[in-house]
Symmetry: C2
Subunit: 382 residues, 2 copies
C-alpha cells in the first residue's frame, strides 16, 4: 500500500465532509429547494471576496471565468495591458488575442513580481488602455504580484478596468476586492476552496458592469449580464452544477468557522514554514521576491532534474506535488499549501523532499528542514 | 417526512454507487493516475455514441457543448439552417446569431416534429447552407425529431454539417452517429448518463474537423482542436473535472452491463407506459407525433393550470417533475423517464398524477392509469 498525499496547486484535497455533502441526492436547479442553496453560496462568496459586488458562479474551470472576464467587457481592437510573468500571465494574453484585443505586455522575468511603477508608466504612456490583467498568485512561478499596489495605480484611470486572476490566490491571500478596487476577480473551485474542479467564480464591479453595456464581443455561454439577472433570483443562466454548489456551501462553512483572518494567517504560516525549511536544506526558491502563500516553487539543486524530484515524490512516496511548467520544466518542483492544508502536510512535504533528494545523491542531514518547519509551525494556532 | 422523487428531464437521479465513486479522494488531472480514468471514459463514450469519432469531454453544461459546436466549425456570415421546434431549437438560433452566423429557420409548431422533406427542400433552395442544427429530443415539447431521416438528407450535401443536440436524447434513443452520418452530436452529464450537471460531450466527424481548419470565430475555452490534441493523450485542455469523469466511468459501467439495446428498449418501454397511462386518464400528449423516449409532456386538462399540477406534485407528494416552458407554460407538465429510471418510477409518477388531478377536481378513477402502466411495464425484463 502506498498512501497518497495530494500536495499539488490544484486540484487540492477535498475534505470528506465536502465530498459526502456532494454525494447527497441531486436536487433540481429550478425547483425551490435550490434557491436557498444558491443564496447561501452567493453570500458566502461575497464574504470570501470581501465585496458587495456580484460574484457570479459559472459551470467551467477557472479558465472559463478568465474568458468571461474578457468577452464581456471589451471590444475588438481595444488596447489592454497584460502583466505576463508566467504560464498564466501568458494565458491572459492568449485569451485577449483570441478575442482580437490589442495586447500590450509587461514581460516579467519568471520568478519575479511586477513593479507597480511599471504599470503606472505604461498607463501614462498609453491612455487608451482599457484593462490591466494580472495574476494574484502566478502558479507557475510561485510569485505573488502586489495586487493592492497595482490596484491603487489602475484606480486612477477612470476608463481602465483592473482584472485579477485569483484562481490560486483566493483563500491563501487577503484580497480586498472593494477596499482596493478590483473590478473583476476570477476564482476556481479546485484550489483554496477545497472543492473538485468544475465551477468558477467572478466578481464584477459597477465600473465593469457599465463597460459590459457596450461590449460587442460574441458571447453566449459566458454571458455575464444574463448570469447577473439569474443570480439576482438565486439561479444560474444554464443548468446549475448543483452538487458542486452544495459542496461550496460546505467548504464556505468551514472557512467561516475558521474566520477570514485566521485562514490567511494559516496559509502564511504554512507557506513561510515551507520556504524556510527548504532554504535550510540549501535549496533556493524560484520566487526571487514576493513569494506566494498558495504554492512554493523550489529550484532543483544543480545537476538534479526537477521533474525527477517530482516523479520520485509521487512514485516512491505517494506525494503528488507538481513539476515545472514550460521554461521552468526540469528546473523546479512545486509544493502547494493551499486549501485543506495544515501543519503535518508541510512536515510530510519537507520530510518527503529530504528523502527524495538524499535518494538522488544530494547531501543533507535528515530532519534539517523538518526541524525548521516544526519550529515555525508550532506557533500556528498555539 | 416528505420523501423526494426526482422525475425531471435533467438533472435526473444519480445512483448511489455513482455518487459514492465521486466522493473518492480527488486525483490530479496531469498525474498518471488520471490517464486510465480518461481513457476509459473516452472509450465508453465512443461505445455509447456508436462512433469511431473523437468524443470530446468539456467542463461545462450541455449548452457549452452547443456553443463549441458553433464556434469551432463556422465563420461569420455563414448560412446555417436551424430546425426550431421548441425552447432548445431557439437556443441553436440564439447561439448561431451570437456568433454572427446567418440563420435560416424551419419553424416547427411546438408539439410537432420536423418533416425531413422540408429540410431537403431548404437545402435544395439554398446551396450555401453550411450546417443543419436540430434537437434529437426537444425537451420543451417532448418531441423526437427523426435524426436518421434528416441525416440521410444532409449527408447528400458535401459542404453541409449535420449537428445534433442529443443532450436529453442520449441513452434514451438509439442514435447511430457513424451509421447515419451525424457530424457533431452534443450530450450532457445530467440526463441519461445519470450524473450531476457539470460535463458535456461532443462527437466530431472527420468532415467537421476539416471545417474546423478554416473556422475563424473567436474561441479559447471551447477550442475543440486543442481538446482533440489533449484527448489523444488522455487529457483535457484545462483542468479536468476529475470527480465527474470518475462518476462517468461508473455510470458507463452500469450502461455497458445492461447493454445498449436493452438500455434503449427500457426507455422505450417506460416512455410508452407513461404515454398510454396518461391517455387512459383522458389526458392528451403535447407531442402530436413522434414522442420522445426521454420525457413526456402532458397537456393539462382544460381549466387546470399545468404549473399548478407541477407544483402540487412537488409540494404535496415530493415529486419533482417539470412544468411547461415559455409558450407551453401553464399548458403542460412534463415527466421524465430518463437515465436511472425503472418501472416503479413510472408507477409513482402515474399514481402521483392521478392523486394530484383528483385533488384538483379532475374526475378520474384511481388506478386507471396505474393499471395500464402495470400492464405495459410487466413485459420489461420479463
Amino acid at each position: 500500500m502506498l498512501k497518497r498525499y495530494l500536495l499539488a496547486p490544484g486540484p487540492t484535497p477535498v475534505p470528506s465532509n465536502v465530498l459526502l455533502a456532494m454525494a447527497s441526492p441531486v436536487i433540481h436547479h429550478r425547483a425551490p429547494d435550490f434557491l436557498p442553496v444558491l443564496d447561501s453560496a452567493k453570500k458566502g462568496l461575497k464574504w470570501l471576496y470581501q465585496t458587495n459586488n456580484d460574484v457570479l458562479i459559472l459551470c467551467s474551470t477557472g479558465t472559463g471565468g478568465m474568458v468571461g472576464a474578457v468577452n464581456n467587457f471589451f471590444n475588438k481592437g481595444d488596447s489592454v495591458l497584460v502583466i505576463n510573468g508566467g504560464k498564466f500571465g501568458e494565458r491572459w494574453t492568449k485569451i485577449c488575442r483570441a478575442y482580437n484585443l490589442g495586447v500590450e505586455e509587461i514581460t516579467v522575468e519568471w520568478g519575479h513580481a511586477v513593479k507597480p511603477e511599471e504599470v503606472e508608466d505604461r498607463l501614462k504612456k498609453n491612455k487608451d488602455i482599457k484593462g490591466v490583467f494580472v495574476q494574484a498568485s502566478e502558479t507557475s512561478t510561485g510569485v505573488y504580484h502586489d495586487i493592492k499596489a497595482i490596484a491603487s495605480v489602475v484606480k486612477k484611470y477612470e476608463d481602465t478596468l483592473f482584472i485579477v486572476d485569483a484562481i490560486s490566490a483566493l483563500v491563501a491571500h487577503d484580497l480586498r476586492t472593494d477596499e482596493w478596487g478590483i473590478d473583476i476577480m476570477v476564482g476556481g473551485s479546485q484550489k483554496g476552496l477545497m472543492l473538485p474542479p468544475g465551477i468558477a467564480f467572478v466578481s464584477v464591479s459597477e465600473k465593469a458592469w457599465a463597460k459590459a453595456e457596450t461590449s460587442k464581443l460574441p458571447k453566449f455561454y459566458f454571458n455575464f449580464k444574463k448570469e447577473r439577472e439569474n443570480l439576482a433570483r438565486n439561479q444560474t443562466n444554464f443548468t446549475s452544477p448543483v452538487t458542486l454548489i452544495i459542496g461550496l456551501n460546505e467548504s464556505l462553512k468551514m472557512l467561516r468557522a475558521e474566520g477570514l483572518e485566521n485562514v490567511f494567517k494559516r496559509h502564511e504560516t504554512l507557506a513561510n514554514a515551507t520556504r524556510e525549511a527548504v532554504k535550510a536544506l540549501g535549496l533556493e526558491l524560484y520566487a526571487q521576491e514576493s513569494p506566494s502563500n498558495a504554492v512554493t516553487a523550489i529550484m532543483s539543486p544543480p545537476g538534479l532534474d526537477g521533474q525527477a524530484v517530482y516523479k520520485n515524490l509521487r512514485e516512491k512516496y505517494g506525494i503528488t506535488a507538481a513539476g515545472g511548467q514550460d521554461r521552468a520544466r526540469g528546473k523546479v518542483f512545486r509544493i502547494a499549501h493551499l486549501g485543506y492544508s495544515d501543519r503535518f502536510d508541510i512536515i510530510t512535504a519537507i520530510a518527503g523532499i529530504e528523502m527524495v533528494l538524499k535518494g538522488m545523491g544530494y547531501p543533507l542531514k535528515f530532519g534539517t528542514g523538518v526541524a525548521v518547519a516544526q519550529e515555525l509551525l508550532m506557533a500556528q494556532g498555539g
